[in-house]
């Protein structure tokens, strides 16, 4: 009981400290009276253009309090924007799993395949989404209007695929020889060995890969939306930056962080269930 109380208490202390620090460094609006009697508004403080926490709340609460509202194309509730982003992330992520899992199995099962493609994967893996995105659009120029969307999917998929590929490959290689011996003694066919022995034995590794992949897919969305102009939370952030509305940027950052956190939590739960099953 005491422990759970602390678990709730300390995060709030941390949050309060950060808010206080933020308040301290943020800029404030002041009224300055000129010599001729007219007044003007100026910003003062350590970081003049950084809005205070309270400012941020006041200016962005319409997005939060009506999270699903759609006033205009670029003026919608924050969760509505988030939803658009989640949909495209979900699709890209699904493609990543669909390609990444078999690829991981091939890498793990065949030494030749691993020799051929492992170096290539290691080179492609650290490439930033900002670099993939233009290529993605170029690849799908033939698709006309859909090029942007397909490019976005391509970017999300190719950036988030690697943890799935690598973890699956490692997992397949880690399948104990004992299990394979059982398959041999039972004279299981190749498909039976794959689906009854290899896949279940690799599942915990695969899920670790899936979790990390989802994290990356969500990370990539902002870059993708900035470049393509697809409507979503990353696009909203970018527009508001161009409009000089810094409070919205902060709202977006907090939202993106929270969503990423929840996604990771959800996947961890699933992962633990899978692992608990053995």
């Amino acid at each position: 009981m005491k422990k759970s109380l602390q678990d709730i208490f300390f995060p709030f202390v941390g949050l309060a400290l950060v808010l206080a620090f933020w308040q301290l460094i943020a800029g404030r609006s002041l009224e300055r009276v000129r010599a001729d009697g007219t007044s003007e508004e100026i910003r003062a403080g350590w970081i003049k253009d950084l809005p205070t926490p309270i400012d941020t709340w006041v200016k962005t609460r319409k997005y939060v309090l009506e999270p699903f509202a759609k006033r205009e194309e670029l003026d919608q509730g924050i969760l509505r924007f988030t939803w658009y982003s989640l949909v495209i992330v979900g699709k890209g992520y699904f493609i990543a799993l669909l390609i990444g899992t078999p690829l991981g199995f091939l890498l793990g099962l065949s030494k030749t395949f691993a020799r051929m493609f492992d170096p290539l994967i290691q080179v492609l893996r650290p490439v930033s989404p900002l670099a993939w995105m233009p290529l993605g659009v170029v690849l799908f120029t033939g698709a006309g209007k859909a090029a942007n969307d397909l490019g976005a999917l391509f970017t999300i998929a190719i950036c988030s695929m690697w943890p799935t590929v690598l973890n699956t490959a490692v997992g397949v290689r880690a399948v104990p020889q004992d299990y394979l011996n059982v398959a041999k003694v039972l004279k299981l066919s190749r498909t039976q060995t794959l689906f009854r022995i290899l896949v279940p034995a690799t599942l915990p590794y695969m899920f670790t890969g899936y979790r990390l992949s989802l994290g990356i897919a969500w990370l990539v969305i902002v870059a993708v939306e900035m470049l393509t102009g697809r409507v979503g939370i990353g696009n909203f952030l970018w527009n508001e930056y161009n409009n000089g509305l810094y409070t919205s940027i902060i709202l977006c950052i907090i939202t993106i962080g929270l969503v990423g956190f929840l996604l990771d939590r959800g996947m961890s739960l699933l992962e633990r269930r899978i692992q608990g099953a053995r």
Binding site: A174, Y179, N181, V182, V185, K187, P200, P204, G209
Partner: protein, 303 residues
């Protein structure tokens, strides 16, 4: 020709340049229905020998025949109880056994396969635990699942690789009796690998000591002419028991083996831990070692 026949078998590991011999000049004939025990030092090559019989590995030279047919690959006619049981951790007791039954008897009706599986679970007294996973079972229970799985394959010969090696003395004694009873009633040909001479005498018709490696070989065949059923308490008082025991131990300590007194060994029951990509990795990744978690047991045996 005998039922199972090993002739001039030798086997080593490692590259040709630095080959480490494990077994040499192994000759062994086993008749149908016989219960043969092989007693040997830890690390002598007992698992290697049983894997050869199972067809999981091939000898460097020599031939192995079962029913006059050359053994070239593993198959369900040789039921094997692996040293670490090799149960699949994501399957329940029932599913582990069904995994063996279902692909082996495709012509049976589902009901018949199910009944066959249940019957073997019952035979090892695990019916109350039929829906448990290996992680929820004690070592002795896992061992029994492993025996049930091997028998459910309805093999011609049963290969037991130190089936009780990882168990405590009390459980071990109980299971010895149980294995004796099951093997007796099934009338199957059995090869039992063990490091415990007493266990061998209690269970086997014939005992072969295996010398210490490298280059281990089998000693003389020692028949156990003690009538069954054998009672472990009466047995230890039996002069025949003591004579056989002396014979085995003398051979192992003398001519065959090195003068070792205690032997210590470690067993790892397989269990996987997932990989975390946040851990440091080597250049070109992928070469990370599989980590193994799970029960480890160390045990010391005096021969």
């Amino acid at each position: 020709m005998s039922f199972l026949e090993l002739r001039d078998i030798s086997k080593g590991y490692g590259p040709a340049s630095a080959r480490m011999p494990v077994l040499r000049e192994i000759n062994l004939s086993i008749e149908k229905g016989e219960f043969v025990a092989i007693v040997g030092y830890s690390g002598a090559g007992k698992t290697t020998l049983i894997n050869l019989m199972a067809g999981l590995i091939r000898p460097d030279s020599g031939s192995i025949t079962l029913n006059d047919l050359e053994v070239v690959s593993p198959g369900p006619d040789r039921g094997i109880v692996f040293q670490n049981y090799s149960l699949l951790p994501w399957l329940t007791v029932y599913e582990n056994i069904a995994l063996a039954v279902d692909p082996l008897f495709p012509n049976w009706s589902a009901a018949r396969r199910r009944q066959h599986t249940e019957q073997h679970i019952h035979m090892v007294n695990l019916t109350p635990a039929r829906d448990k996973r290996p992680a929820e079972l004690s070592g002795g229970m896992r061992q029994r699942v492993s025996v049930a799985r091997a028998l459910a394959m309805d093999p011609q010969i049963l290969l037991l690789d130190e089936p009780l090696g990882a168990l405590d003395a009390l459980t071990r004694a109980n299971l010895q009796d149980e294995i004796g009873r099951i093997c007796q009633s099934s009338g199957k040909t059995v090869v039992l690998i063990t490091n415990d001479p007493d266990e061998a005498i209690l269970l086997a018709d014939r005992i072969l000591p295996l010398s210490a490696g490298p280059g281990a070989t089998l000693g003389p065949s020692i028949p156990v002419d003690i009538e069954r059923p054998r009672d472990r308490r009466a047995l230890s008082q039996d002069p025949r028991f003591q004579a056989i025991r002396t014979q085995i131990v003398d051979w192992l300590l003398g001519a065959g083996g090195r003068p070792t007194v205690t032997v210590s060994k470690r067993l790892t029951l397989p269990d996987l831990e997932p990989e975390d990509l946040t851990l440091p990795r080597t250049l070109f990744g992928l070469r990370r070692e599989a980590k193994r978690r799970g029960a480890e047991r160390r045990e010391t045996v005096t021969l």
